[in-house]
């Protein structure tokens, strides 16, 4: 599976994703500069975390209008896979590729900590190797991760089962105490109706080797690898 890792001025998790894909998964990967238009030959494009354009105006606002994101729209239309983590999730929302917006954490603190995520939707290439209700442990590292959307969109997300991860306790119970940023409905990650564009605040690339303190993030990458079919399409289930 051919991966691309997008780099904006201010991106910081690009090397981590590149390392996991090349050194842990042993898959081909290349960096994609934010001015590039050409995403052909790639199966999965990763939008990593960081502070693209210094979070100027709003987190992800400027990056969401960059040339590579314009190209990403065609890439998504053609059925390509996109994983946005942290600032990548913010960019996907600002670009309108996912609904809603990420706002300032309710606690006002930048939160850098381990979180538990309960898996809600396994009908995506990113999660098909997981069990519904499975609890994953992954770190977060953000100041603006509180997911917000209007009541109508939230109802649609729930009805179409587009919420993929919710913050939970170690037993998978979705509680207020386990919500690190005040996110609506404890939402930590959502997907588009086609199941091809996933945005999440936690960092799977920082939980992909035992030496990092956990390997639950790797389960998502392994799901992805197992979903690629010879004709270039992806399995959902």
């Amino acid at each position: 599976m051919r991966f691309g890792v997008v780099v904006f001025p201010g991106t910081w998790s690009d090397c981590d994703f590149h390392y996991v894909v090349s050194e842990v998964l042993h898959q081909p990967v290349r960096y994609v500069w934010h001015r590039e238009h050409e995403l052909g030959q790639l199966d999965c494009v990763i939008l990593p975390g960081g502070f693209s354009y210094g979070d100027y105006l709003r987190a992800g606002a400027v990056a969401g209008r960059s040339p590579v994101v314009a190209a990403l729209r065609d890439f998504v239309t053609r059925g390509g896979l996109v994983l946005g983590s942290c600032n990548g999730f913010q960019i996907l929302c600002e670009a309108g590729l996912l609904p809603g917006v990420l706002t300032r954490n309710e606690c006002l603190q930048y939160r850098c900590q381990s979180t538990h995520l309960v898996v809600e939707n396994i009908d995506t290439p990113f999660t098909r190797g997981l069990r519904a209700g499975q609890v994953l442990t992954m770190p977060i590292s953000h100041g603006e991760g509180k997911y917000h959307t209007d009541a109508e969109t939230l109802a649609r997300l729930k009805q179409q089962n587009l919420v993929v991860f919710r913050y939970a306790d170690a037993d998978g119970r979705v509680t207020k105490a386990s919500n690190p940023n005040g996110s609506l409905d404890n939402i930590a990650g959502i997907v588009n109706p086609e199941g091809t564009v996933l945005g999440m605040m936690p960092h799977p690339e920082r939980a992909s080797e035992t030496a990092m303190g956990g390997t639950d993030g790797l389960l998502m990458f392994q799901s992805l690898l197992g979903s690629l079919v010879e004709d270039g399409s992806f399995l959902k289930r």
């Binding site: 606002a61 209008r65 917006v101 006002l108 917000h148």
Partner: protein
Amino acid sequence: MKVRVLVRLKPGIMDVQGEAVKRALAGLGFSEVSDLRVGKVIDIDLAEARPGEARARVGEMCRQLLANPILEDYTLETVDDLAPREVAR
């Protein structure tokens, strides 16, 4: 033509930044502040002399980038001179 854009969080959206500033003011003795919300001012100088046209263009800028319609409202002011009337030193 100069246009001033005021971007504010919509009513009902919790302004955690405003809350923090309000608390800091209370700490300085300004306990009379009952509500405080932080917004943004964006001053734009553009090569368009007709106020209506300038406002239309800036409105389009707001819709495409300057404001996020999920969270924020915006208002436009066309002004001849954007220099502040009162300068505090």
